[in-house]
Structure formats: structure tokens, C-alpha cells
């Protein structure tokens, strides 16, 4: 069957089919045979033409953390991310309006209030994680539409702290 993944924002396809003890693999126009074994819950052994690779893998909510010989990837399930991959520019503008912390942490300070106008680079909030403060800045000009978090709240990097409204000038 064919698998679609997203790595570094690129959509990649892998074809994989069991054939006896081996697997037939298709990557791009290349096709070859691989000997793939599950060693333990998080370890897979691949052997391709006598070359052996031990791969460490863990599933998260929307993909896999995978490491092979020192290189680590986050491989996203493609279904969860098609929109992001296809409509790149559009999407990211929308993202910029949703102000999220780059890391999970505690809100130390909210520097703006609702309905306030903000300029590019203005500090909106300060989030602290692991003894380090991180200023969250606006990457566009706009107006604060709604603030979701208060000072002292714990926030993650998925849910917005506040939302902006674009203001063309």
C-alpha cells in the first residue's frame, strides 16, 4: 500500500508491500527489497542489501518521532496536514493572527489589552519555561481581537494565547 507522510513540510510517498519474509519498497521511481523486523515497541530493524539500520520510533498524536543513526525526523501523518502543505502562504498568514507560545510555559506578562492596536515586532506577552523568559512578538500590524490567557496561566504551543485581527493601512 502507499503511505503519505509530511517531513519538513514536504509531502512524501512510500510504497510498501509484504512479499514472503521481505518487503517490496517503492520510493520515488526506485524499487527494492527490504528485510524489516520489529525488535521491540520502539525499535525497527531494516536490512537493505546487507546494510543494516536500527531505527528508533515513537508515535505521537499526529505522527512519528523517528531516529536513524543520529538523524532525527518528525514524520507527520499526511491526512492531518494536507491543508498546511498545500495552501502554504494563505495558511501561515492565518497562523500569524493566532498568537501561540513557541514553547509550553507559564504566562508571566500580557503586554497588551483587547482592542489595542499593535505593530510588527511589538511584544504581546512573555512566557517563561524552564527558567527562561521568551517574548512573544507580533509579526504583523493589527488589533488585538481576543485574549484567551491570563497572567499566571500555563499555556502550550498548540492553543493561542490571543488572537489578532489584521488591519490594513
Amino acid at each position: 500500500m502507499e503511505h503519505e507522510f509530511v517531513v519538513d513540510n514536504k509531502l512524501l510517498k512510500i510504497f510498501l508491500e509484504k512479499k514472503g519474509e521481505q518487503y517490496v519498497v517503492g520510493v520515488d521511481d526506485d524499487q527494492y527489497t527490504a528485510d524489516i523486523k520489529n525488535l521491540s515497541p520502539h525499535i525497527v530493524s531494516l536490512k537493505i542489501e546487507d546494510k543494516v539500520y536500527r531505527v528508533f520510533i515513537a508515535r505521537s498524536d499526529d505522527g512519528f518521532f523517528v531516529q536513524c543513526r543520529g538523524d532525527q525526523y518528525f514524520i507527520k501523518d499526511s491526512d492531518q496536514d494536507e491543508s498546511e502543505v498545500q495552501g502554504g502562504e494563505e495558511r501561515s498568514r492565518e497562523d500569524m493572527l493566532k498568537i501561540k507560545s513557541t514553547m509550553p510555559g507559564k504566562v508571566i506578562k500580557i503586554e497588551v489589552s483587547e482592542k489595542q492596536e499593535v505593530r510588527v515586532g511589538q511584544t504581546l506577552a512573555i512566557v517563561e519555561a524552564m527558567k527562561m523568559e521568551n517574548e512573544i512578538k507580533s509579526s504583523l500590524q493589527g488589533v488585538v481581537k481576543k485574549i484567551f490567557a491570563s497572567e499566571g496561566d500555563l499555556v502550550d504551543s498548540d492553543n493561542p494565547i490571543m488572537e489578532l485581527e489584521e488591519k490594513k493601512c
Binding site: 500500500m1 503511505h3 507522510f5 517531513v7 512524501l12 512510500i14 510498501l16 509484504k18 518487503y23 519498497v25 520510493v27 527490504a34 524489516i36 520489529n38 521491540s40 515497541p41 520502539h42 525499535i43 525497527v44 531494516l46 539500520y53 531505527v55 528508533f56 520510533i57 515513537a58 508515535r59 505521537s60 498524536d61 505522527g63 512519528f64 518521532f65 523517528v66 531516529q67 536513524c68 543513526r69 543520529g70 538523524d71 532525527q72 525526523y73 514524520i75 513557541t102 514553547m103 509550553p104 510555559g105 507559564k106 519555561a129 524552564m130 527558567k131 527562561m132 521568551n134 500555563l154
Partner: protein, 505 residues
């Protein structure tokens, strides 16, 4: 000897101290915040007491709570580790008052070395070199010019109220001093509301070289040679080694003797570290005394063969130091890498969350002091150090190769870590040459850090993901025997096993 010790810390250093106690037959009490019930240090101890909420100020920094736990559990001594209360004189004073032995320096010495100005005055009087310069603010440009000629160029202008590099600038010649002073004052004014600036000699291509000290309660002092800790990012050490490539026997002996003098004149006891800056012309300047067990103590342990934590405990228990300076030798080479939960590709921002899987490097010459396990949470409240990977080898070249291999075999899935970045640093020709100065990271990674990745490995990773994804959804294509073999493992994460009834053998 103590029968029970309370460890007022968390993470890898708490685990490391508990291990030392266990080997000495001493019972251990861990303390933990509400965020740390499942942390590794709690699991290693004999007993554990919750000392408050997640915020460090309400738990690991709460002196009352910790003293209360120690008294309740009848601990005779407290080891503070590093960070938190380790260098807090009120804590060590409180321990003294409560009749609990504080495993660290006496509170008077801690007080003294904790005060940069007083400690520099003290050691300067004893003939220890400090960075030439003056903390006092002068009246006019001509006074500054006179002073500047005494110090020599290049020199630094620093804001008296300053910190973090703001208002700081380098001046290379007499001609440029005036303009520099004026600009520095303006900057200082705008940053701190205070325009006072002072001059300090500019140490060029400095290396951070520090000496580990053991001093008992009877005036016996030995140094355990140097560590070089020049590889820093944001003024935080990330790679340390011993010996330093910059010292020879003569300079090592000289600096070691100066370090011992610092300890002597400050009345310091137990384990401590005397920090120096070393310039490219082999001049060294006292910076400060670190009044605690340091993060990087393992590199010294590996080259000297001494267990510093066990010696700390022995000294605190009133034992005399039996080690003679003449019997100490540095053997081979040791390097430590601090493994942080942080994203090197995104400005080293801390990363937190659940660690889904760990595979640890092992084998000859590898020591891993770790505070994490597969399945643990990395809380957002504390310093993001996860573990310390330390190697030892016959020489520096072999130690570097060993470290590169060990980093490559160290797998942490679920949170971002500095592992790949550290591998890049150790592999760099500049590090291999021993060309290590405190601006190393700035110079080498001025355009940030992006991992060089291998297409073949990415393909292999994709294959592994496809394999696991496929075997989750399409069980039918797999032979029964193989299915049975694999089944216990296929129920992890978001997965479910299709036919568990068949799979038990």
C-alpha cells in the same frame, strides 16, 4: 558517618548524589514538588517527601519546607546539589542553627565568595591576579584616559548598573576612547537609567578554565586540576573537558597553587571551584569561586579517579582529607556534554513534554548521569537539563571520537534536545584542534544552526514509519507466526491490537 541524608534537589544531580549515598550505606530522603512525583530522583531514594507546589519558589527554594522535611525524617545532613539553595547563605546558616550538617562550605565563606566585590578584594590582597580595571566611576574623560593607559588597550567599557552585555563595548585605541565612552554612557542611560560606566581590561580569545578544589575542615587543601569550560551558549557552559588544551605542566601547577590560595584566604571548605579567565598570552585572572558541586564535576572524577560527591560527604562528616597533592594525577582525557531539552534549530528554546522513548549509549569509557526515563515528563518549571553524557579515553582525539559515537547512539524521542548540535560541535575541526574560546559558538554558528541530514537516513525513517503504520492497519497480510511474535509490541501508543486472542502462545 551520617546515617541519613536529605537531598534538596531534583533531576540528574539528585540521582547522582543518591547513588553516592547508597554506595556508602547511607539512607536517603528525596524531596519533590507536586510536579515531580514521578521524577526519577524520587524513585531512587529510600524515602521521599513532597515539599510543595510545582513552582520552585514554593518547593525547592522553600527553606522552611525543606528543613521541616529533614527534621521529620531525622536526616542528619542535607546535600543541596547545584542551583536552587546550593549557594544560599541563609539556607546553610539555617541548617547550622537547626543542627543539620550542610554538605558544602561554611556559611561565612559562602557569604564572602558570593559577593563578587568583596571576594575579589580579598584574593587580590593575597596576590591573586584579577582582571585589571576599576569599579569606581570617574569624573571626566581625562581621568578615564589616564586609567585606560594604565589598563592598556583593547579595553572594555561596562555599565555600572549593567548586565547581559548591554552598554558594553570594546575600545581598541586611545583615539577612540572618547567616542566610545560617550556612546557607552548613552546606552547605559537608556538601558538602566544610569549613565555610569567603568573600564576593564579586554581579555582576548579568552578560555574559561577552572580548578576543582577539595578542602577539609582542618585546613588541608588539594586541587584536582583544571576543567576547561569555554564552549558556552548564552553564557551557559554546554561542553566541558579536562585537561585543558591551553595549559602545560608549569601553568597548571601555577594556577593550581593560586586556586588553593584563593580557597585558603577565603576560609573555604568542602568541594568548590575557582574560576579563571585565561587569555591567549597565557595570563590568567580570577573570576569567582563556585561554592557548590558543579554540573561538570564528572570530567574531573574521570581523569583523577576520585568520587567528588563521596569526598564531599566525608569532609562534611568531619573526616580528614587523606589525599596528598603529590599523589594526584590527571590521566587520559574526559569530555562532558550537557543534554538539554531545547531546540538547537530554533534558538535553543526550551522544550518540554513527555519523553516517549530513550535509548542510552553504553560501553567502554561512557558515563551517563541521567535524570530521565522512557515515559517521564519534562516539566516546564525547572532548568531543562536532562542528563550529562561524559566520556573518558586515553587521549583527547579518542575521547572526541567516543563522544561523537555516544551522541549518535543517544536517542531521546518526544522532546527536542541539544544532542545533534553537540555532535556538530565536537565534530568540528576547530573543536578537534582544541581551538576553544568562550566565543566558539558565536563564531562557528553565527548564522544559526541547521542540521545537515542525510537523504538515505530520511528514507529509512520513512520506511520504518510506513512499516509500523501498515502493520497497525493491515494485520491480515501478515503470517500467523510473525504476527504472534510481534503482537505484544504492537499495542503501543495510539494503536490497538487486532487479534490478541490468537497471539498468546
Amino acid at each position: 558517618m551520617f546515617e541519613k541524608i536529605l537531598i534538596a534537589n531534583r533531576g540528574e544531580i539528585a540521582v547522582r548524589i543518591i547513588r553516592a549515598c547508597q554506595e556508602m550505606g547511607i539512607s536517603t530522603v528525596a524531596v519533590y514538588s507536586e510536579a515531580d512525583r514521578k521524577s526519577l530522583h524520587v524513585q531512587f531514594a529510600d524515602e521521599a517527601v513532597c515539599i510543595g507546589p510545582a513552582q520552585a519558589v514554593d518547593s525547592y527554594l522553600d527553606i522552611d519546607n525543606i528543613i521541616h522535611a529533614a527534621k521529620e525524617k531525622k536526616a542528619q545532613a542535607i546535600h543541596p546539589g547545584y542551583g536552587f539553595l546550593a549557594e544560599n547563605p541563609s539556607f546553610s546558616l539555617r541548617c547550622e542553627k537547626e543542627g543539620i550538617v550542610f554538605i558544602g562550605p561554611n556559611s561565612r565563606a559562602m557569604d564572602l565568595v558570593g559577593d563578587k566585590v568583596r571576594s575579589r578584594q580579598t584574593v587580590e590582597k593575597a596576590g591573586v591576579p584579577i582582571i585589571p580595571g576599576m569599579k569606581c566611576v570617574l569624573k571626566n574623560i581625562s581621568e578615564y584616559e589616564k586609567e585606560a593607559d594604565k589598563i592598556g588597550y583593547p579595553l572594555m567599557i561596562k555599565a555600572s548598573a549593567g548586565g547581559g552585555g548591554k552598554g558594553m563595548r570594546i575600545v581598541h585605541s586611545h583615539e577612540r576612547l572618547k567616542a566610545g565612552l560617550e556612546a557607552g554612557m548613552r546606552e547605559a542611560k537608556s538601558a538602566f537609567g544610569d549613565e555610569s560606566v567603568y573600564l576593564e581590561k579586554c581579555i582576548q580569545e579568552p578560555r574559561h578554565v577552572e580548578f576543582q578544589i577539595l578542602a577539609d575542615n582542618y585546613g588541608n587543601i588539594v586541587h584536582l586540576f583544571e576543567r576547561e569550560c569555554s564552549i558556552q551558549r548564552r553564557h551557559q557552559k554546554i561542553i566541558e573537558e579536562s585537561p585543558s588544551q591551553a595549559l602545560d605542566e608549569g601553568l597548571r601547577d601555577q594556577m593550581g597553587e593560586v586556586a588553593k590560595r584563593v580557597i585558603q584566604v577565603t576560609g573555604y571548605n568542602n568541594a568548590g571551584t575557582v574560576e579563571f579567565l585565561l587569555d591567549k598570552d597565557r595570563n590568567f585572572y580570577f573570576l569567582e569561586v563556585n561554592a557548590r558541586l558543579q554540573v561538570e564535576h564528572p570530567v574531573t572524577e574521570l581523569v583523577t579517579g576520585l568520587d567528588i560527591v563521596q569526598h564531599q560527604i566525608l569532609i562534611a562528616a568531619g573526616k580528614k582529607l587523606k589525599i596528598k597533592q603529590s599523589s594526584l594525577h590527571q590521566k587520559g582525557h574526559s569530555i562532558e556534554c550537557r543534554i538539554y531539552a531545547e531546540d538547537p534549530e530554533n534558538n535553543f528554546l526550551p522544550s518540554s513534554g513527555k519523553i516517549l522513548f530513550i535509548n542510552e549509549p553504553a560501553g567502554p569509557g561512557i558515563r551517563l548521569d541521567s535524570g530521565i526515563y522512557s515515559g517521564c515528563e519534562v516539566p516546564i518549571y525547572y532548568d531543562p537539563i536532562l542528563s550529562k553524557l561524559v566520556v573518558w579515553a586515553e587521549n583527547r582525539e579518542m575521547a572526541c571520537q567516543r563522544m561523537v559515537q555516544a551522541l549518535e547512539h543517544y536517542v531521546i524521542l518526544g522532546v527536542k534536545t541539544s544532542i545533534s548540535f553537540l555532535k556538530e560541535v565536537i565534530s568540528s575541526p576547530m573543536f578537534r584542534r582544541g581551538d576553544t574560546t568562550t566565543d566558539f559558538i558565536e563564531k562557528q554558528f553565527k548564522d544559526g544552526f541547521a542540521l545537515r541530514k542525510d537523504d538515505k537516513k530520511r528514507e529509512i525513517c520513512l520506511l520504518a514509519a510506513a512499516f509500523l503504520g501498515q502493520n497497525r492497519t493491515y494485520d491480515s497480510g501478515i503470517g500467523k507466526k510473525e504476527h504472534g511474535e510481534r503482537s505484544p509490541w504492537q499495542t503501543l501508543g495510539k494503536w490497538r491490537l487486532g487479534r490478541s486472542e490468537e497471539s498468546g502462545t
